[in-house]
Structures are given as C-alpha cells and as structure tokens.
Symmetry: C2
Subunit: 147 residues, 2 copies
C-alpha cells in the first residue's frame, strides 16, 4: 500500500482470521504454497476435511494487484476475501465470501458459493497442508531438526 | 522404568527419531491420539502420503507393559519400534521394524513388513495428522488463539 504499512496490516488481519477459523473448528495454516506455485494466505481444514482458502487484502491496491485469484478455486471448497472494516468491500465479487477482520478476530459477512473439490485434489491439498503444518511445528519445537 | 527416568529417556529417543524421519523426507507429529483412543508416539507422513508409526520404548518394562501394540497396524503402512542401543532388541518381533535411537538421531536397523492402509483409513489418518499439527502450530505462534 502507498503508506508502506501493508505487511503489518496484512499480518494483523491474518491473525484475526486464523483465530476466528479456529473458533469455527478449523485448523489453519498460513502462507501455504499450492501446486502450481501460488501461495494461499490462510488455509482452513475443517473436522470433516473441508478446505477453505482466505485471501487477505490489506488495501485496495493489494486487491487490485491480484489478477488471478480465481485460480484458488482449484484448491478449496470455499474462497473468502478478508479485509479491514474500512475496505470498500462492494468491489469484491458476490460469489466470493467476505470476512471483515482486525487483529483480534473476524466475522464472516457473506458465505461464498461452494465448489466441492474432487477427491484427488482434496487428497493432494490435505497432504500439502498436513506436511507444511508438521514440518513447521517440528522446527518450532526442535530448531536444529534439519532442513 | 524402575529408575524413574522413563519420561526424559523416551523424550530423548523421540527427538532423535523425529530428526531422522525428517531426514527421510517425512513430516512428523508426536503423541497423536488415534481413532479408538490409543496414542501413537511418533507418526510420520511421507511426501507421497505413506504413514509410519514409531513406538518409543525406553526400557524393557515399557515394552512389556504394552500388550496391544498390534492395533497400531490399523493406522499405518509401517510400524516400527525405536529403542536405545542397549535395549535387548531380540525380543521385538521380526515383522515390526526396528530403529536404534538416541537424542541426536536414529538409524533404521530393520524394515517392517508393509501392510497398506485402505483409502478410507488413510484419508482419516491424514486428516487427523493434519489437524493435530496445524492446531498445535497455531498455538505455538499465537498462544491466545483460543481453545
């Protein structure tokens, strides 16, 4: 963003989103690199295996710079955008979900259409999510565990 | 164990096992509660989705107290026991894998027979692993993230 605060602002929204997804029963992983190379800001995995992706947009320029977000549909059952309460959220397409967030929590304002993953894509995404979470957790517990 | 050092000894072996599984490319989760209520000491998830369980036995009494370890076969493709180098490892059945470990690493001495999980059990185990890892990781990153 023009004022240079993009990264801390995005981190604050991300934390609030993750807390709220946890309250919904989802486990979450942030900054998950997907097959194809795109990175999802937040991925939520429900107790039944449903997969949500939440893209954090800290400002209008951040949103407008992302021309290919439709590709996230290939990796989740539901796609949301999370923005701060003062974001001009009318510009976000109706078929994407809308979450208003701050650093302490978030609220789902609009549910998106659900496009269910195929079994093979769900399997691949769950494995990708599982391995990222466990590798990071081991690193947090044992910093000298290796590459 | 009689000398009361069971828990630190088991923790040391567990760390060594986890480091070595990581070197093999597995992501790991420790102390994973399985469907049915048993808890696996170490679960490894390979890049292709194979699931290994490693049971840590810090002393002979610890091994002998576990009468139902065959049940772990329902939750993994391969089952190993990990013990310290001075453990009388002849008593571990041939069809289970054998790992010698210390706090710094481990070595697989014998591969077990592989009994492949069914697709539905693999799906359930991968989901269980993924959620445990991500919920613990979030707690490590954001201690106030909620229950």
């Amino acid at each position: 963003c023009p004022d240079g605060r993009q990264s801390p602002a995005a981190a604050a929204l991300q934390r609030g989103v993750c807390r709220t997804l946890r309250a919904y029963g989802h486990s979450v992983v942030t900054e998950l690199t997907l097959s194809g190379g795109r990175r999802a800001d937040v991925v939520g995995l429900s107790p039944s295996g449903d997969i949500w992706i939440v893209e954090i947009k800290s400002c209008l320029a951040d949103y407008q710079a992302d021309g290919k977000w439709e590709e996230y549909h290939d990796h989740c059952d539901r796609l949301y955008f999370a923005v701060a309460p003062d974001f001009p959220h009318e510009i976000i397409p109706d078929h994407a979900g809308l979450i208003l967030a701050d650093r302490f929590g978030a609220e789902i304002m609009r549910e998106p259409g659900e496009i269910r993953l195929t079994a093979s894509r769900r399997k691949a995404m769950t494995l990708c999510f599982a391995r990222a979470a466990a590798l990071r957790l081991q690193r947090a517990i044992d910093p000298f565990c290796g590459e």
